[in-house]
Structures are given as C-alpha cells and as structure tokens.
Amino acid sequence: MTPTPTDITEEFTRRDWQGDDVTGTVRLAMIGLGWWTRDEAIPAVEESEFCETTVAVSSSKEKAEGARELAGSITHGLTYDEFHEGVAADAYDAVYVVTPNGLHLPYVETAAELGKAVLCEKPLEASVERAEKLVAACDRADVPLMVAYRMQTEPAVRRARELVEAGVVGDPVFVHGHMSQRLLDEVVPDPDQWRLDPELSGGATVMDIGLYPLNTARFVLDADPVRVRARARVDDEAFEAVGDEHVSFGVDFDDGTLAVCTASQSAYQSSHLRVTGTEGELEIEPAFYNRQKRGFRLSWGDQSADYDFEQVNQMTEEFDYFASRLLTETDPDPDGDHALVDMRAMDAIYAAAERGTDVPVDTDVDSASDEA
C-alpha cells in the first residue's frame, strides 16, 4: 500500500537512517577552527550520540591548544604541519575538514594517507579538477568520504524526499529554490575574507549558498542536473574578484523537472525550496539555515497541511549520521561522486553566467574521477 502523507510525516524527526545496532564513538579531528567549527560544529558534536571531538587543528599551536576550552574531550591541539606529519594520529578516527574550499584537498589527502575517514565541508573544493583529485585520493586510500550537505539529514528534507517518492505531489514539474543572506553585514564582516578570494573559494555565492537549493533539489527529486543557464551580478566591489554576488540559475534535471534557483550574499536572509508536482506541492520555508526554524507545508487535492515539528540541530544529525555509518561499516552518503556532480553543475552555472548561453552538465562522474 502506498504510504499516505500522515504515515510519512509520523514521528517527523525520526532518524530513519539509524539502525538499532549502532554502538561506539567516533573520535573527530576538526581541521580548521573558524567560526563555523567553534560555534556550530564542536557544540553539535557535544550534543551527539556517536561522536566526540578529540583533536583540534589550526594554523597556530596557540589557537589549536585554545580549542580545548570548547570541549572537555579535546586532548590534542595541533598545527596544520603537525597534522600533515601524522602527530597524534591515534587520537582520532575521522576528520571534519572545514577549511576554505580551496584548501580541502591537502588535508583530505593527508587524512586519506593516515587511513582516516573524511567528512568534508561543501563545496568539495574550489574547482572541479581539485575536487576530482580529492575524491581520487580517498578512493586510492579506500577511506570513506562523506560531503557535509547538512540538508540531507534534515528531517524536513528527508520527509519531502519520501513524499515525492510516494507520489504524493504527483510527478514533479518545477522546483523553486532560494537562499540569501547578508554575508558582509551580518555573517562575516570582513571584505578580505577567503569567500571573496576566487583562488580559495572558487566563487562566493553559487559555491557557498546557491549550492543549497541545487543539492537539496537533487536529493528531494532523486535526480541529477543535465543543463543549466544563469545570470550573475555584482553590486559591491568586494565581490568583483569572485564575480558572483547575486545569482539566478535554471537547472534541467534528468527526470524532466525544471528548477529555478536564486541566491545572494547581499540580500535579506531568506530561504525556501518548493517542489510543484502534477498533483500537489511541497514547500520548505525557511529551509536552509540551521539557525532558523524550518517550516514545512504540503498541499494536495483540496487541502494543505502546515507542520510544526520539533527542530533538530542539523549538524548533530549530520555528525551522528556520519558516525553511525562508520560504526556499522556502511558507506556514507552523500559521497564524493555525488558532490562531484554539484561541482560540475556549478562550473556549468558559472560558465553559463559568463557566456549567457545554456551549458550542458557533464554528469559522467565515475569515469572522470577514475582518470584524475
């Protein structure tokens, strides 16, 4: 029997991915101690069931050692050089890489060589080529690689995916996605930050936040992008080097769904994802900010339902998912190949914005990463 909306949304925040057989703790090394690691990641690990932070890695010994204050479980503070040398490698099982995008590769390479599982922040790297090398390094060393798309363990998004799969909205026709924030005014008030350096970030808006509607749409639809079109505009000179401050892009998916997404690093904080099908509609709004309560509305037939559910810490869900996969020796998703599709799609979006034409997305990731 096809599950009903009521069946699917029962125990809204259930961890459908967590089996009964998970025991143990995964010890994490945090690579990079920026605000995200300090304010979001380490506190989220503190709340988790299956993880603890044991090692903090940063540019200076002082900063790394100072991280001990953030969690009682932290036993080692290492410099980046010490990490590359394999210092205290027995003190952690996995790494969480949260450096600037363009610096993911060397830390992931070292982690892979040390045989550590990798949880790497999105986007995978600053360019497709470097991202391919990153995936190849993990493949070579046969270490698990998960990319930290926290929306994929957000209950609202998982329930949306289940509702779409059950056909509750009919066949998906359109996706509308949006994410915006005021990066310089409210998030990181520094015009010299790495996100605005194309070498380190690969792009400021598509790579950092445009990725949310793109990847979440892929996950909810269980479909991949095949063709994109895009526009980008810069108002603030701080964004001139990267070239993308406000962005709109269209994505054609391989299941026929058409998506329109917008993203900005200099617009009022807002986020949503809407899937309109032949028979109904799903709306997650607000959608993509861990700090904003997620809203969820399902409309079908002659009725709509607004769900008010217990909010989870997305980062705690993500860490526990990653750890539970490692503890049960199961490959975690989203993996490197999944993330490479986004890298190619974003590369195509930047190309489309520059050329003003449609650009096809090369989704044949397996062969590409094998060659790298």
């Binding site: 029962e10 125990e11 002659d302 769900y307 217990e310």
Partner: protein, 325 residues
C-alpha cells in the same frame, strides 16, 4: 431529483436552496402559508413553482423529495405528511423535539418506504470527515471532548429560536451541534449532567453547560448560549495528542477551514479549500435515496442524539445526573 421546499426560512433561502441549485438536482417548488410570500421568494431565488400551503406542495406529483427548514416543533408532523405522499425527506436539525418522536418518525418513514435524513451539514464538510478519521486512527484513545456553539441573539427580536411552543432554546438551536460533535468522537454517553439558564425569561434555555460521561472514563463538556459573541469549536484531547477546529460547524462556503492536531512531536495545521457543505449534504442525501443505502446521518445517530438532548434537559430540570442505559 426534484426538491420541494417547505417554508421560507432563511437557512433555506440562503444556504440549502442555492446548494440544491448548484447540484445535479433541482429546487422545483416552494411553499409558504402566505402565497404572496411563496411567490416572492420563488421569484427571488429562481424556483419555478410556488404554493400557498405546505399540503398543496406535497400533492405535487412532480416532486421526489422535500427539504424541511420549519420551526423545530413542526418537523415531525410535516415529515409524516411528506411520507404520506411518498416523498423522501431532508429535515433540518434537530429532527424533532424528543427521542421518542424521532424514533416514531423514522418508523413512519420506514413504513412509507421513504428515506429520512436529519440535516447536520457540518458532518459533510471534508474537515469534519478528516477530524473523525484522525481521531479514529491516528491520535490514540479519546480522553475528552470540549465543544461549544454560541452566538449573540439580539434582544427583543421576535424569534422562533426562543419560542417554547416552537421547541426553541440554545440547546435545540446550536447546542445540538456541540453534542453532535461529542458523539462523533465518543459515541453515545452513559450519563449526562447539565445545567441550563433562561437569562431572558422567555421560557426556554438561553445558556446550557453539560458534561457527558462515558463508562470508558472519557468525558465531554458541551456548551451553548445566545448570550456571547459567536464561538464554535471542538477540541479533542487524546492519549497521544489533541485535535482542534474553530468555526467548526457553520462555516461560510467561501471560507477555508483549518484543522489543527498534534501527535508524535509535530503540530499539523491542515487547511481545506472553501466548500459548500450544504451542497455535499444535499448530494449525499440524494445518493442515499437513489441507492437505497443508509444515509451518513442515520436513524441511530438521530435518535441517540435526541436521547442525549432529552437527558440534558432532564438533568437540568432535576438537578441530577441522568443515566442513558
């Protein structure tokens, strides 16, 4: 089906006649004791035939059914008269003024071979159907129901709602909805306690507050009055959560309806598109006539509702709990 309308009551003109006209059926004739009024209303609402007496309408061979929105005390006699003419009957709530009389008119209609249904339109609203389904299947065991239908009846108005001879009163007029809702979620109570007040010295209750008690341990609190701003709701408390509807009974066909419920750590508000529940009532009645199936609001429901109302009055009169078993 060709419907005849007995009387020119507002609910007929404003709600049920337009509902019949919007359906696949027809409002073919209307009767009033005042022929001029019958003709004027027929012209106004677009009914082809007007009669100056209810008897004359019942004798019209082209009709299949009648809709009765007369004052409560007149329902039983005209249901019987319609049945005598082989007409199926959709009669406004409350069906009669007592459980015995309700059972008697059902006997009468069964003998005459016609379908009789009491008109509680809210039972045909998709929101009510969904509420019943959720309570039956999703929310655990019902612990209590609270329901109220009250509004302010203007002072000094000559009004059938407060005439003792016409079986007026807040219970008969709107409290029956609150009791109907309690029954929808909990069934027929085992004991009833109630108190009523006649704040206008008019000979009928203008306020009622009652407790319905069930042997299972569940309870319902039901209220009605003519002395407050309009309020109409039900709230169901269950072992796993709760469910609540506002504007629960008489909702405009142009208004969307909300139903909120909580269970399993989530609160869900479902919104239903505007719908004419009178039309759904008319269509369900006509379908029951055509198929010979028992209508959704059947004899048992109407008789047991009236038994509960009888018990409310008896308890209010005697100051004691009334056993229904």
């Amino acid at each position: 089906m060709q419907f005849g309308i007995l009387g020119t009551a507002g609910i007929g003109i404003e709600s049920v006649i337009p509902a019949i006209q919007a359906s696949d059926h027809a409002a073919a004739a209307i009767a009033s004791r005042d022929e001029t009024r019958a003709s004027a209303v027929a012209d106004e609402v677009g009914i082809p035939t007007a009669y100056g007496s209810y008897e004359a309408l019942l004798a019209d061979d082209s009709l299949d059914a009648v809709y009765i929105p007369l004052p409560n005390s007149l329902h039983a006699d005209w249901v019987r008269a319609a049945a005598d003419h082989g007409l199926h009957v959709l009669c406004e709530k409350p069906l009669t003024a007592s459980a015995d009389e309700t059972a008697a008119v059902f006997d009468y209609c069964e003998d005459a071979g016609v379908t009789l249904m009491e008109g509680f339109m809210y039972r045909f609203h998709p929101r009510t159907e969904r509420a019943a389904e959720l309570v039956a299947s999703e929310l655990g065991e019902v612990v209590s129901v609270t329901s109220n239908f009250s509004f302010r009846l203007p002072d000094g108005a000559e009004n059938i709602r407060i005439e003792p001879e016409l079986a007026g009163g807040s219970v008969m007029d709107v409290g029956c909805y609150a009791i109907s809702a309690a029954r929808l979620f909990l069934g027929t109570p085992d004991r009833v306690y109630a108190t009523t007040t006649d704040t206008r010295d008019c000979g009928v209750d203008t306020r009622m507050s009652g407790v319905l008690e069930y042997d299972s341990g569940a309870t319902a609190r039901v209220e009605s009055s003519f002395d407050t701003p309009e309020t109409q709701y039900y709230r169901v408390q269950t072992t796993d959560g709760w469910l609540e509807a506002k504007t629960a009974f008489n909702i405009e066909p142009t208004a969307s309806a909300e139903l909120t419920y909580a269970t399993d750590g989530r609160v869900v508000t479902e919104t239903f598109d505007p719908i004419d529940n009178y039309r759904r009532e008319v269509e369900a009645f006509a379908r029951a006539v055509e198929t010979g199936e028992t209508p959704r609001i059947d004899r048992e429901e109407s008789v047991d509702l009236m038994r509960t109302i009888d018990a409310v009055y008896e308890s209010a009169d005697t100051g004691r709990a009334v056993d229904l078993n």
